[in-house]
Symmetry: C2
Subunit: 223 residues, 2 copies
DNA sequence: TCACGTTTGGAACACCGTTCCAATCCATCA
DNA sequence: TGATGGATTGGAACGGTGTTCCAAACGTGA
């Protein structure tokens, strides 16, 4: 009779898929992708690896569940309010910022794109493009270009973060690369030299948005 | 005296960085990324792992060297001949096709983007955009959007290939996904349902090019 | 011929994901 | 109430990985 009650209330210190995912995310955020091992996870949860495997099929599913926990909530964006272009920018920025906070999501999102709220993402972006008057025939190409771009930048940011773990002084790093660009051969690298100054003080987030706007711009001028 | 001669001609069966990279690429192409282990490599070269480590620092460097061997030649494209837009399309398609043939390059290119002919790629694309009249101020954003998009699609293709190893019947797979899209809720998934038919018989390569054109289009209509 | 730096092959190490299993918990039923 | 059996746990064990280490073989200049 109180069957329902007892099922819904679980012992707080019992292992559960959510508690495992939560602990895994803590490890991922604190020490990066390579630090997430079943041993480290078991130790943090004061248990053995076998117990974890009872709740989670394997490491792939664990990573996917972690990424889900971060990404899926992002997909629930105000249904269709506001200007469509702005809506698309918000969706894109939401993903960008999430991956900025949790770089490991980038690689995961990338490794298995179809496990996540991809359907919702396609719908969110697609519906807004329809509202902008994109013809049905061009819709899929446009949405998929936007999504590819978003995931592409996401993945690259994750790679960047993996390479420059955190404390790195970003501006001096950029300055160093820019200096190298400026020193490259004046005849063979005309464009690179011109980009060097912009590289030095560019902002990843703004540049990401510029790319989105470029795509939206191209979509607006479809014939 | 024949010092030079002896240095340049190496015994054909001696181990060398190039022979190792060559063998590694064969394994990668034949059996995928997971099959490349130092043991498998050593066995193929009839040697021990220690001998390989004398020529190659670690697995990361090995993978990077393999990717270099595929990608770097692609960057040497006819200096500045032909219509700039077409040139950019050719560069992009070159990378797309290379990754289609060697999916593992996609993930590697992605993991460490700056180890490769990225400078050349920035220059090749940038110079052509300059020729198209893109103002200096917008150059970096435009190039970087194009490069991000290219790498993004590349990575996703690699992920796809990893998931559907080869023999998979692509058209029936697409049909299955499309069917699922069509069955999704009629009210909440308007756009997805419209895209389903286009998903069913789309061509990855053409769609990739459509995205490039969208970006070029947006760049052309910059104000 | 000798000596010495270069190159090799494979054993050994630490660690990983995963499997297996004995021990424990706990709700249910006789 | 006590027994029973499934759900859940913790940790040992297994096969495999990247990497290190080192004794042996090679080959080249003195």
């Amino acid at each position: 009779m109180d069957n329902r009650k007892q099922r819904s209330e679980r012992r707080t210190d019992a292992l559960s898929r959510e508690r495992i995912v939560e602990a895994a995310i803590e490890i991922l955020d604190a020490d990066g992708e390579a630090a997430l091992t079943f041993r480290a996870l078991a130790s943090r949860l004061s248990t053995g690896s076998g117990a974890i495997y009872w709740h989670v099929a394997d490491k792939g599913e664990l990573l996917a569940a972690c990424a889900d926990a971060i990404v899926v909530p992002l997909m629930r964006i105000e249904v269709m309010a506001g200007e469509p272009r702005e809506g698309i920018r918000l969706i894109a920025l939401g993903i960008f910022d999430a991956i900025d906070r949790h770089p490991w999501v980038g690689s995961q999102l990338f490794r298995e794109p179809w496990r996540f709220g991809m359907l919702q993402m396609f719908e969110s972006v697609g519906a807004r493009l329809l509202k902008l008057g994109v013809p049905d025939k061009a819709l899929f190409d446009c949405v998929s270009a936007l999504v590819s771009y978003i995931l592409g930048v996401a993945g690259q940011n994750a790679a960047n973060a993996r390479m420059h773990p955190e404390g790195t002084d970003r501006s001096s790093l950029l300055a160093a690369v820019a200096a190298r660009w400026e020193e490259s051969d004046a005849e063979d690298y005309v464009a690179v030299r011109k980009m060097a100054t912009q590289l030095r003080d560019h902002d990843d987030r703004a540049q990401f948005l510029a790319g989105i706007d470029l795509l939206l711009n191209g979509i607006a001028h479809l014939r």
